[in-house]
């Protein structure tokens, strides 16, 4: 019997994206540049995170027209963002046939208490996380893919590094624990107990975990792969750089060959100026997107 939207089908989709780069785009033209550069998927948005920061106000799901335009322009999967807890934005994107939804802290949350029950949907979801507790709660709600939160739109990799190191250190700790210690660990982390058992059995998270939030250069992408990310999201980093086509291609190559340092040196030559970064310490607490989500 044919079964749609099973856990295996949704998680499997993310498995196929491993080792790849998912790029933020705001129109069909950018989507085509991303596809030509070798992106494994594009994220269709109204504004990239750095512009969301500048614009201020409430950031919502993109105009469906933009999403549709991007879907028609490329053959690779198209993702789109819905606000945290916004059931209707998510259902609308699903109805449009978007391939993956990012329940994203880059947008202004619609619900400050509850995330979406993602297991209810046929479309798979990706969610951000800063630690294993957050990662496990999102998986518990049905997320099929994770990404670090980092600090979006800053071009500063420091937060994404903090988040991937934290999650992976906590995974290693769980894997090394004896089974009778897991319930207390579940309590400490605020994580579903059964999921910790699964992580211990597998020796890793049961879904893929990409890097996101601050990747600005090929070396940043390679660093995140070195630290154990399964792939990379690049938001503002590509189309806010001086030469998006070259930048996009270089980030794809560095992600595949993240241990080939001579190659990374070669492809990083004369790339032009990357996006201008923001020092996280200068960001007021209320402007930190990573604090959104619970």
């Amino acid at each position: 019997m044919k079964q749609l939207g099973t856990e295996r089908v949704k998680r499997g989709m993310a498995e196929m994206q491993k080792g790849g780069v998912i790029m933020d785009v705001v129109n069909a033209e950018q989507a085509k540049i991303a596809e030509a550069a070798g992106a494994v998927a594009v994220m269709a948005l109204e504004r990239v995170p750095s512009d969301i920061r500048k614009a201020g106000g409430v950031a919502r799901m993109a105009d469906p027209r933009i999403v549709e335009e991007v879907m028609n322009a490329v053959s690779i999967p198209v993702m789109a963002k819905a606000r945290i807890g916004h059931i209707v934005e998510a259902r609308v994107l699903e109805a449009m046939g978007v391939d993956y939804i990012d329940e994203s802290e880059v947008l202004t949350p619609a619900d400050e208490e509850f995330h979406l029950l993602k297991s209810d949907y046929t479309v798979p979801f990706v969610c951000g996380c800063r630690d294993l507790g957050e990662a496990a709660r999102r998986i518990g709600e049905g997320a099929s893919m994770l990404r670090t939160k980092g600090e979006p739109g800053t071009g500063n990799i420091v937060e994404a590094v903090r988040h991937i190191r934290k999650v992976n250190a906590q995974v290693r700790r769980v894997v090394g624990m004896s089974t009778d210690e897991l319930m207390t660990e579940a309590k400490v982390l605020g994580a579903p107990y059964e999921l910790l058992g699964e992580i211990k059995r597998l020796g890793r998270l049961p879904v893929v975990n990409f890097a996101a939030g601050g990747v600005a250069t090929p070396a940043d992408a390679a660093l995140m792969m070195e630290l154990g990310a399964d792939g990379v999201f690049v938001g503002s980093g590509i189309f806010k750089s001086e030469n998006p086509e070259k930048f996009a291609r270089a980030i794809v190559e560095a992600t595949t060959h993240y241990k080939d340092y001579k190659l990374i040196a070669e492809i990083s030559k004369e790339l032009g100026t990357p996006m201008k970064g923001i020092e996280i310490a200068t960001l007021p607490a209320e402007e930190r997107m990573q604090e959104r989500g619970w």
Partner: protein, 190 residues
């Protein structure tokens, strides 16, 4: 012990490595042309075919793999890997490796919301296997000598042409190693 390479540019590489090891063979990740030396078979995994193709070009792997294909090296492509192998892709002027005598259509079951899993009957192997279809292609037509190993809803989803095995779906996302075992038999008998 047979050595089976897995093209490791992008996609579900780890899953194939598990399956290769589960059937008692040695798995080698292929990232550059020199990695191809001494392998007995090659797996082209699922992923994004457009991405993998670009990386094949940039890292000078397309021609060496085409040459090995012509010399008869057994190759097994799943999903994107099938698209890479096919001689013709509907709607595209040029194929990628273009070595297997089949015509394929990309994303022919629909978008991700239409992706599914089901059981597939393999009449020749007298087995039923679990199959995961993710934005899957299917084989529209095959040359006369190509052996059709499985169909789903009248569409060809598994076929063998000489040293090439092409599959629409992802056996590597399940624990069933029937198709991997068949590929190892193909390596032994070819």
């Amino acid at each position: 012990m047979k050595k089976i390479g897995v093209l490791a540019l992008q996609g579900a590489i780890r899953e194939h490595i598990y399956q290769i090891e589960a059937v008692g063979c040695e798995a080698i990740a292929i990232k550059k042309p020199s990695d191809l030396e001494g392998i007995d078979g090659l797996i082209l995994p699922g992923g994004e075919s457009t991405t993998i193709r670009k990386l094949l070009d940039r890292f000078h792997l397309l021609e060496p793999i085409q040459n090995l294909a012509k010399q008869g090296l057994p190759m097994f492509g799943t999903c994107a890997g099938l698209i890479l192998l096919a001689r013709e892709i509907v709607g595209y002027e040029d194929p990628h490796l273009g070595v297997m005598n089949v015509v394929v259509e990309r994303n022919s079951f629909g978008r991700q919301v239409d992706s599914f899993e089901c059981d597939i009957t393999l009449p020749k192997l007298q087995k039923v296997v679990p199959a995961v279809f993710i934005r899957a292609p299917h084989i529209i037509s095959v040359d006369e000598h190509v052996e059709i190993l499985a169909k789903y809803e009248e569409r060809i989803v598994l076929a063998r042409d000489r040293n090439f095995l092409g599959c629409s779906f992802h056996p590597e996302l399940t624990k069933d190693v029937t198709i991997m075992q068949y590929f190892v038999e193909l390596i032994r008998n070819h």
